[in-house]
Point group: C3
Chain length 210, copies 3
């Protein structure tokens, strides 16, 4: 996959993640700062978990703060939009869901690839892809006291797993690594977009009374 194109995917994903975090804070009745914090935490949380668990220091947004800056700028935009149009629910718009899917795809590949580079066993590298792609969303839901969405029926972490597996397998072949990345990104996108459009869901258990 073209390096520059991949970078674009990461930026789009960061914007979408920050929008989802910022709106989660708006819905939870947080204040302006809460919106900023949630936006940033969702955008950088997955990669932070990955780096902490792999023992990579300095952590990625300390080393290269570009995407952190993207997240901060996005949070300001969310703040302005949510203040001017309290009813705008940007984060549920199709556009943003698709942008989020691009982010999930890009971060899954980044996470898997970084873990493989740290001599982690292939199937554990796939787990790191999921942690990187979906971790921010889990932290978001814990902070706004919502049940982690990625675990209650959305085909989300599953798309990430599929992408991680394909990426890891293709990396073992003679094919160029750009091809592995491109295929994995395309697969995650395909699954996630199909899941959004066709309302695919994983079977979930019925919650008792409480």
């Amino acid at each position: 996959m073209n390096e520059a194109l991949f970078r674009v995917a990461e930026v789009i994903g960061t914007v979408a993640f920050a929008v989802s975090g910022g709106y989660a804070a708006v819905r939870a009745g947080m204040d302006w700062l809460g919106v900023g914090v949630l936006a940033v935490v969702v955008a950088v949380g997955g990669g932070t978990l990955r780096d902490v668990l792999l023992g990579i220091h300095p952590i990625w947004w300390v080393r290269e703060p570009d995407l952190l800056i993207v997240a901060c700028v996005t949070s300001v935009v969310v703040l302005v939009v949510a203040t001017v149009h309290p009813q705008s629910k940007l984060d549920t718009r199709r556009t943003v869901l698709y942008a989020d899917a691009i982010g999930l795809a890009a971060f899954t590949v980044t996470g898997t690839s970084i873990a493989l580079a740290h001599d982690v066993q292939p199937w554990i590298a796939v787990m790191f892809g999921v942690i990187t792609g979906a971790g921010g969303g889990v932290i978001r839901d814990v902070l706004v006291r919502r049940k982690p969405l990625v675990l209650v029926g959305e085909i989300y972490a599953l798309a990430s797993i599929a992408g991680g597996v394909v990426y890891t397998v293709l990396r073992e072949t003679e094919l160029p690594s750009g091809f592995a990345a491109a295929t994995a990104v395309a697969l995650v996108l395909l699954i996630r977009v199909a899941a959004i459009r066709r309302h695919w869901r994983l079977p979930r258990f019925e919650e008792p009374e409480g």
Copy 2:
């Protein structure tokens, strides 16, 4: 304590922890993947916290993924059982509670021992024993938005503290370290099993209205 026997205790504990995590997800109405994630997180969470706080890298389940595999397999079993018998509440069965006690005992000793090996002061090593033994359960309860059970009356963390103290004290003596481990494991088991059978509880504060 016999090395092999200790290993068996860790495996039994991992299975029990994974069952408790998996069922917490089932009860919280999560999906199949959520069951897998919770099972794994509870099983490996305490040791992960310990390694991250002590700065040990690669983290234990990256270094030696055996118990991670045990947790994954267990989560599949939970999934099947919970799907076939939705009313089976394996995690509240005596057998599983006792297996969980074995895990608490084994991981308390592992955690205390690893902390001591990292030149941590003895009483702080005891804290690491508790983090290792009870940390997974706290993460579980945060993810399913339940009040951390180990902090609301169960004699759970307390059993772990007692075991950690005894282990640390005995390690200071001339006695073989296997003896220290065996005594500590026995003590945690004894306290925990007695607490389960006799419904021992720590006094808790009454919650106001909300």
Copy 3:
């Protein structure tokens, strides 16, 4: 700022943080151990997050456990007071709120300063000041399943940001670093005390029905 004076501020802050954590556990109907755990987690949580994210090992309370001891002792006091006088709400008393403000001020400066010493960009160092000062409170609220207070209207994290910015800017000048610390501490205190007395709040978004 005088080194000894700064140390006193840290101790006062630790006591206040532990009181806030302990009472949060009391209110949430936790048991005695829960009170101890919450008190300690709030007192050391922010600095722990900072050290883990910066990759500093051994973590601060493993290296120098003095403040950890202060937190433990405080938790015992909270336990006794809350048992004898269940209606005493120490943590909402003005005295404790002011002590908490002193802690926020001191830990903000500590966090910013440690981050700067690790060659972190200035604006990211400010973030580490906030993480150090306000992080413990966020962990507290997650554990007692409360919406993070620092994100729902209180001028809290904002006071920390202001202090971090002033500290970072003054450190760039020729002025002695003690002066930078003293000014930043004074500013955080001033803003926080004014916010408490005058009920200053950040605008927050209205929460929908749920």
